[in-house]
């Protein structure tokens, strides 16, 4: 697997992106699923390996600066993000899941180390995310933007997170209690 990816992608993110563009996002996602002997993207139900990728990425995208922010894994952020994705059209869901499949293998092309994302250290994932966010390649930026929006929607909509950012619904007299 590793040597195969090295052969296909080399060290060049452009090759991964070119592959995505010629094959299409969904076929690239399915290709990575087949290669890693994992179930392919499935609208309506995210396969476990892809939710692991999302959760791991989320721990870094929504990393805390201090202890009063709850841990991503402790506040139901993953479930909220998955539900948010589940409200999108099935073709968009398949594309987002494909994006997660590509993200899982993105370190082979974007660095910092040839390894799956879920096996990278915190610091390594941060470096990968920064590379994607600032990449001159538009599909890499698009991938970062989609990931960030799903993660933020999952994490910052959790009421457990709100005290750390000073937000609350109970302090808002215009919000009826039964609608919170």
């Amino acid at each position: 697997m590793v040597s195969f990816l090295r052969g296909v992608l080399g060290d060049k993110p452009e090759l991964l992106m070119a592959r995505m563009q010629t094959m299409g996002l969904v076929r690239t996602g399915r290709f990575f699923a087949r290669l890693s002997r994992n179930p392919p993207p499935m609208p309506g139900k995210v396969p476990a390996w892809l939710s692991e990728t999302l959760e791991r990425a989320m721990t870094r995208v929504c990393a805390a600066d201090d202890a009063d922010f709850p841990d991503v894994r402790a506040c139901g952020a993953l479930d909220a993000a998955l539900r948010f994705m589940g409200g999108m059209p099935s073709t968009t869901q398949e594309e987002l899941q494909s994006m997660l499949a590509i993200l899982e293998y993105a370190p082979y092309a974007f660095g910092p180390r040839r390894q799956r994302l879920t096996r990278l250290s915190d610091d390594e994932i941060d470096r990968l995310l920064l590379t994607l966010e600032t990449s001159p390649l538009m599909p890499a930026r698009a991938m970062f933007k989609a990931l960030k929006s799903v993660c933020m929607m999952g994490y910052y909509t959790r009421p457990e997170v709100w005290p750390a950012i000073g937000y609350s619904l109970s302090g808002n007299p215009g919000v009826p209690a039964e609608r919170r």
Binding site: V61, D66, P89, T134, M138, M152, A164
Partner: protein, 520 residues
């Protein structure tokens, strides 16, 4: 949602769910309106009240006031097209549009403005007729119907006060905006659907009287094709959609000799193209304008809590000029977002981003929205999805830069100690002196991150079938019996909130359609 669940859903009298039907639905009417948002909702209302046998077909759900929850993760996927994931094809610009009975007026922020005279003058120059006194009278009647009035002073929240303070300090032209609210309890939840039924929107003001007058509405029904017989329209066909899972269910068809498109500037054009309607000059879907906007945030020492109260009531028009040679074309208006969306707008990620999110209660924001001269185009995709091709050119990016600079200047003048500009990498500025370096030359896709909420044009009005898609009253130039009544109609971008103009043109189109109906 199972079919049995769909059947148990309580809908207002006159409204049925296509998802609840056991078999393919076939209905007949004199007129079918596709989409019940601002334009389609007004056409549906006026036709039903005139006694026409009209069916409104709506892709989205029906929301009773008590269905509105003050939670982003619950409401955004329900109220927005593509589950709030819509964007330009390169994903660089997020495009927000509504779905459901009421369309984008369910979640919009209720700003109301008429079309400015210079825009009408440009449209006249492009061959659009009847833009004089009768149009102004229509504006007035629409404003009365929707209870449009200036936002009262005591309802201007701290976020909007910041814009006023800064603009006043700098001597920039600014004003309090008008809105269409009654019974508003200042929850600040407008973009999630009002929990207090305080919006005088299409769902509240137009649809109930239309149903009472005998209009019928078919919800959970996505139109996929406009049916024609030669050059005459003869109905629409599509699929029932499960409102919970989005799954495609059984087909439906509504036969009618008149069809009104009110599916928005993106979806109406995509539908027309998908249906293979004659388009000899290949115009449909082009000229797409979206008012791309960037959020500039100011951090204040005092608490702002911009998520509370009427979200938008202040504008600065100092840099908003109209006309082909206008050098400054940005509309500055206050803006805010709830935590999930706000976190997406705040630059970066990780611990540094979390630290910025701590500033959330102290942030005031201004959206720099470009009155775009550049235009993109829209094409169909699968289901409700559309391809939005729009990548601002240098001239537009210069406007984005101008807007961000001036929004920042206003925030500093209002007392912000820091301003966050969402470029890549983000600029965290301590003084306005650092603003001059910000030019359009450094901007591009994803830089800054942008949002658009006003798609327009794509099936624009005009007298000449070689250079416009529909007549000045919305009748399609190529297909008899087909009308357009939504934001697609506008020949140019308008540089302000589009709902009042769209409602008003929806009325005008309904009137033209009525005039052509055989006497009953």
């Amino acid at each position: 949602m199972s079919r049995a669940d769909a059947k148990r859903r309580v809908l207002p009298a006159g409204m049925i769910s296509a998802a609840a039907s056991d078999s393919a639905l076939r209905l007949n009417a004199d007129v079918v309106v596709v989409g019940l948002g601002a334009g389609g909702g007004m056409a549906f209302h006026d036709l039903a009240l005139a006694g026409v046998d009209v069916i409104g077909v709506e892709l989205g759900d029906y929301f009773a006031p008590e269905d509105m929850r003050c939670r982003e993760e619950v409401m955004l996927p329900k109220l927005f097209m593509e589950g709030a994931s819509r964007g330009t094809v390169d994903q660089a610009i997020t495009v927000m549009q509504g779905k459901g009975v009421g369309g984008s007026t369910l979640h919009n922020t209720n700003l109301c403005k008429r079309l400015p005279e210079p825009i009408l003058e440009i449209w006249r120059g492009q061959g659009v007729e009847d833009l004089g006194a009768e149009l102004q009278a229509d504006f007035q009647r629409v404003e009365e119907l929707l209870d449009v009035h200036p936002v009262p002073d005591d309802r201007v929240n701290a976020n909007n006060h910041a814009l006023f303070r800064g603009a006043r300090e700098l001597g920039y032209r600014h004003a309090v905006l008008s809105h269409n609210r009654q019974g508003c309890r200042q929850s600040g939840m407008c973009e999630l659907g009002c929990p207090n039924n305080g919006k005088q929107n299409a769902a509240k003001v137009l649809i109930p009287p239309a149903l009472n007058a005998g209009g019928r509405a078919l919800v959970h029904a996505r139109v996929d094709r406009i049916l024609t017989r030669g050059r005459q329209v003869c109905g629409v066909a599509g699929r029932a959609i499960d409102p919970l899972s989005g799954a495609e269910l059984q087909p439906f068809e509504v036969r009618a000799e008149r069809v009104v498109l009110g599916a928005s500037a993106t979806n109406s054009a995509a539908l027309a193209i998908k249906s293979g309607l004659p388009d000899p000059h290949r115009l449909t879907g082009r000229r797409l304008h979206i008012h791309p906007g960037a959020f500039v945030m100011g951090v204040f020492d005092e608490t702002i809590e911009g998520w509370k109260g009427v979200p938008q009531s202040a504008e600065c028009t100092e840099f908003l000029n109209f006309g082909h040679d206008a050098e400054q074309r940005v509309w500055l208006v206050s803006g805010f977002a709830h935590p999930g969306a706000a976190a997406g707008l705040m630059p970066g990620f990780g611990a540094a981003h979390a630290s910025m999110m701590r500033l959330y209660p102290n942030v005031a924001a201004i959206i720099a929205m470009v009155h775009d001269h550049y235009s993109g185009h829209v094409r169909p995709r699968d289901g409700e999805r559309v391809q939005i091709h729009y990548r601002p050119d240098r001239a537009e990016l210069n406007q984005v830069a101008l807007g961000m600079r001036e929004a920042a200047r206003i925030l500093f003048a209002a007392g912000a100690r820091q301003v966050i500009i969402p470029t890549s990498p983000p600029r965290l500025l301590d003084s306005p002196a650092q603003l001059d370096g910000l030019t359009g030359a450094e901007l591009g896709p994803f830089n800054p991150s942008m949002v658009a909420v006003h798609p327009m044009s794509t099936m624009w009005m005009g007298a000449d079938p070689r250079s416009s898609v529909v007549s000045s009253h919305g009748a399609h130039h190529q297909v008899r019996g087909l009308f357009v009544a939504d934001g697609s109609l506008f020949p140019t971008s308008i540089g302000g909130p589009p709902q009042i103009p769209i409602y008003t043109f929806g009325r005008r189109v309904a009137r033209a359609l009525l005039a052509g109906l055989p006497a009953r």
